[in-house]
Amino acid sequence: MTHRAGYSRSSQAPPIRTVLVLGLVLILVFLAACAPAPAAPAAEAPSAAEEEATPTPAEAKTFRIAVGIDPDTLDPALGTTTTVSNIVDYMVETLVVTDKDGNPQPKLATGWEVAEDGLEYTFYIRQGVTFHDGTVLNAEVVKWNLDRILDPNVKVPIRSPFAAIEEVEIVDDYTIKLHLSRPYAPLISAFSLGNAGIISPDSVNAEGNTYENVTRPVGTGPYVFQERVKGERIVVTRFEDYWGEKPYYDEVVFRVVPEAATRESLLLAGQVDLIILPPISDLPALQQNPDVKVLLAPSDRTIFISINNTHEPLNDVRVRQALNYAVNKEEIIESVLFGAAELLDAPMASNLFGYCPQKPYEYDPEKAKALLAEAGVESLELNFIAPTGRYVQDFQAAQAIAGFLSEVGIKAPVSTMDWPSYVAAILTPPDENNIDLHFLGWAPSYLDAAQQMVQFYSPEHPPNGLATSFYGNPEVDKLIEAAAQESDPEKRKELYCQASEIIWNEAPWIFLWVQRFPIVYRADLTGVDYHPTEKFYAIYARPAE
């Protein structure tokens, strides 16, 4: 700024004026921002005046959890995200839950029967259960919920598991019968999905809720929705009329903290009691820290390199096997993932119904070279992509894999892109798809092989589905179809076993590992557990005696 004012009546502005202007700018900005009163009382940011409101009474026991995402919805029917359904689980329950091995267990249903032909399912509803608003759980309420999930006016993003249901019939006050248009064997497990959470029919008329979109879920769970500040926290309080075992804490607060390092700091500062997904490189330090416990929970998320089975020479099974022998997965799990994974020994995680283990491809670069020579491959350059930050150490692991591939003479430098672009690239139909290798994770939302086998089923090739390796084998297709129709669990398992063996030997993927789901919590707590669908289970957490 050069000040060359020759004559200037007011080259000396009175200070009052300048200060006034400064103040005005600030005030105007502030007014522009705050003039419209937020419409949603539940989602209001705390105003400076009410900051000190609702201090928790000293005797109220609060459990504080930090998660990484702000829920897109709390409507059980509309959810697609594990962490969100993890939160909703505190308030809303399902008819069925699966145990850690994928076996269906009773929850709001005390039992069920499947007809011989697999077209009729009878559910017996638990008696003596009330919702947070006092509504009593019965067959009518369950029917209303299932009808809502199937109602085209409700934008349920994942409706396909329930698509086979044609009609829900009320048999008596506590019995319902489902009539199916076609057999769908995984249906019982599908009822453990958060999307099938049972809410009170009256609650859709309550404040803030509509039939199409529930923002304050009213379920039968051990905790009642209290308040939500979008982008910051969700508070739930204990339901005193809960039908099951009552939890220890009066109140649970879920804090939204997108940054992993901040979540870790919150825990170390004693400002929260439990976090998920700390920065993975800090796992060793956290494991050494006596103040916290690290639970590396097994999950159902398989991590693999999907090989494009249609490209030359990758359509040769020997080349795909060579890729599997070329990579030292144990080494990568140890040094890149800090131990937060276990080796994959089947085309699916071990906690899925239908899993049976295969013989792992051990690290053997000589064998890899021999197989490549046998297939007549002299030099190979591959287009390899990986996401960044989608899965644990994804891009870093992909770089390590590229290193191992180069040792057997395969050039496959890794590039990355943002997730939506990545998904678009890998879902490109085969005739235009120029990706040879891509890094991917796959986590069935209920623990059944049916949800994993879509990856190896011909009709699921993009653009129709998500089988991005374009692997296809008529024999495997038949086995998968037979298993989906088979109502005898033992026979079903056997069919999946046969399919698994063929898939394993034909190596449509570089089979890598099953990701573990890190949960870190205060060392003086007990009762913190997990579910293999990448969920923490802390409803019954309490201070150790």
């Binding site: 300048t18 900005v29 702000d70 396909s160 982008g231 998904v423």
Partner: protein, 309 residues
């Protein structure tokens, strides 16, 4: 009609045209992003029918001009559509997040104004002293430190090591301290440097010497005669900094789990939530245009050397 009110009208009209242009650019930009928003929203496990259904809900099956016409006609009526991610009205979502971001921005701006001007005046007045040197080094840090890293360092120091302050959230007054300073660091430094150089210039002006010669008290000379003139360019900088603050809010809110628009924007971009991204950028742009308009007009008002026309 005086030239001054003509100038204001002109500026208003320009702001309006800018806003319409921005709406078109935003609309095209979010659609140029690769990736199918319907697939992103449905999640990887959803079937093709599920995705197709979402595509229809979002109106993505229609031609682009039709989509824009719908977006524009609704926008004019103040309807920004429904968020694809949360199924709530975009405007309602934005209004519930706006206060948190605004509070953070205004507090940071106030801190930057007060500390920056104070530091700048001290540095200029005690020119080439140790104090001046320390302030220079401090501002250099403030300008070159990444917001993200600074935030994490402050958390480690004040929350984890010292247990003085909350590491995240916005529940208590104390929660404001770390994010405000993190966000303000760059602006404090910039305002201080600006004030220092502008103050040095003014202190060597004739009228300051005259004032001293008249035997006025030093404090009156510095504060009243020099500072009031030195602050004229600083006002502009503070006004322009507002844009940088909104940008910085995106990172700061992510680091501190602050429930504002920055965090909402990150969530919406990753979810390819077109209506929400459009709405947020539109609101951000309107705010910036408004602030710049006000600054321009006030500047013309306080500094008669500006010729409007």
């Amino acid at each position: 009609m005086t030239s001054f009110s003509q100038y204001i009208l002109q500026r208003l009209l320009a702001a309006l045209i800018t806003l319409i242009g921005i709406s078109l650019i935003i609309f095209l930009l979010v659609r140029l992003l690769p990736g199918d928003p319907a697939r992103v929203i449905a999640g990887l496990l959803a079937s093709e029918e599920d995705v197709e259904q979402i595509r229809v809900w979002m109106g993505l099956d229609r031609p682009l001009p039709v989509q824009y016409a719908m977006f524009f006609s609704r926008m004019v009526r103040g309807d920004l559509g429904i968020s694809a991610r949360t199924k709530e009205p975009v405007l309602k979502e934005i209004l519930s997040r706006l206060p948190a971001t605004m509070k953070l921005a205004v507090i940071s701006m106030t801190i930057a104004g007060v500390l920056g001007v104070l530091g700048g005046v001290l540095a200029a007045y005690r020119r080439n002293s140790i104090l001046d040197f320390l302030i220079s080094v401090g501002t250099l840090f403030g300008i070159s430190m990444p917001v993200y890293w600074l935030g994490l360092m402050l958390i480690v120091l004040f929350a984890v090591r010292l247990h003085w302050l909350p590491a995240a959230g916005s529940e208590r007054p104390a929660s404001y301290i770390l994010p405000s300073f993190t966000l303000a660091a760059f602006s404090i430094a910039l305002v201080a440097r600006m004030t220092r150089s502008s103050m040095l210039e003014v202190l060597s002006e004739d009228y300051v010497r005259t004032a001293r010669a008249k035997g006025l008290r030093e404090s009156v000379v510095v504060l009243r005669h020099a500072l009031s003139n030195a602050l004229i360019p600083v006002v502009t900088v503070i006004g322009l900094q507002f844009g940088a603050l909104l940008g910085g809010a995106v990172l700061t809110e992510t680091v501190f789990g602050w429930p504002g628009m920055g965090q909402l924007m990150v969530d919406s971009i990753f979810a390819r939530d077109y209506p929400m991204v459009q709405g947020i950028v539109l609101v951000f742009s309107s705010l910036l245009i408004l602030v710049n308009l006000i600054v321009d007009i006030l500047y013309a008002y306080i500094d008669p050397r500006i010729h409007y026309g």
